[in-house]
């Protein structure tokens, strides 16, 4: 198809395009969530609550981007399964490493860590 073929598309083609509005609205929502992430670190909540809120907001942004911007919502489920295999392995590695190194016996020792041990 050539560029000249675009003449078949009216200038206001986007006006009738549902996805266009979905994308723009989603971007606005994501910008607001990013602002909320920034604000929440200045609110005097307990640390555990702030961490939970930050992780929840990040997860919402992450899922919104992969399912809508990246079209997983409209693609075959196999794409979702394939990506989540990598995501779970990557997230699992992250979680496992944090747990292993968070255990008391795994705390680093030596002169460089004397003040903390």
């Amino acid at each position: 198809m050539s560029a000249s073929a675009t003449a078949e598309h009216p200038a206001d083609a986007h006006a009738n395009d549902g996805k266009f509005h979905i994308f723009v609205e989603l971007a606005m929502i994501l910008a607001v969530i990013t602002g909320a992430e920034l604000l929440v670190i200045y609110v005097p909540f307990p640390n555990s609550l702030v961490i939970t809120i930050l992780m929840a907001l990040s997860a919402i942004k992450f899922m919104a981007v992969i399912f809508i911007f990246m079209h997983l919502k409209w693609d075959k489920p196999f794409c979702t399964i394939l990506f989540f295999i990598g995501l779970i392995l990557g997230g699992g590695t992250l979680g496992a490493l944090l747990l292993i190194h968070g255990a008391k016996d795994s705390q680093p020792v030596g002169p460089a860590y004397e003040e903390q041990v």
Binding site: M1, S2, A3, S4, A5, T6, H9, A13, H14, D17, K19, F20, F23, V24, L26, A27, L30, A31, T34, E37, L38, I41, Y42, N47, V50, I51, L54, L57, S58, K61, F62, V65, I66, I68, F69, M70, H71, D75, K76, F78, C79, L82, F83, I85, G86, L89, G90, G91, G92, T93, L94, L97, L98, H101, Q107, P108, A112, Y113, E115, Q116
Partner: protein, 285 residues
Amino acid sequence: MSSHAATAGPIDHHHDATTTTGIPHKKLFMWAFLASDCMFFGSLIATHLVYRLHPPVGSPDPRDIFSIELTSGSTFILLMSSLLMALAVNAIQKGNVQTTRRMLLGTIVFGLIFLGGQVYEFNHFVHVGGLTLANSVFGTTFYTLTGTHGTHVAIGVLWLVLMYIRSFKPADESNGQSWILKGSAHFLAFVGVVVVGMYTLLALIHAFEEGHGLGYYFSHHFISFGITLALLAVLVAFARQRTPVDFGEANAIDVESMGLYWHFVDIVWIIIFPVVYLLEYIVLP
């Protein structure tokens, strides 16, 4: 065979009956690659966090170094670039080449702003904060993680530029050699604008930071400023071509695959921003 170009009639951009999975091969490959990249970034983020949670004595305090305003701005820019990328894919799926080009250009510009911000940030960290790749474990893991992400952004920008230039391939294939030469010139003009333009812009910021005026800036950087303008004029001349092109709805899968990569870069930053930057302000030792 997964090429939609070989199919007749309206194109279903989410399914491809000619492949065994029903998914276009290029899209399937990209999802598999992104899944592997999840594991790569998962390991890098874990490494940063493990060392950050157990910092050796004398480690720098990131709160003294980070600029949350600059990083938040970069996050917003990357988010908006994701929107433009989604709109580029949407436009090419309708065969709207002009809109696709505009959205690709917007994505390129936003990607470059993000990279410029990262160059400025790294420069600030090294020269003002004293944080280098080698002088602390924090510096090593921080630069490795954010630098790897920045490299992904740079590769994405390069891919976007190549796709933008590809959209000008003439429909008349009888003059293929001429297209290669013209495409190469187009690419070189783009690279020139990016390299010289970024140097010029950073020099401008530096001049203002040092308290010098525009007079000082132009007396020292007039040539680079002029070259940037001249190369921009060349790019505008290339963009004004109106000959029929061999680029349209059938190439949507190429743009979409590139878009998947670009959105992935964004979602990695969605994780890095709170984990590496925001958490510093509340809990980390």
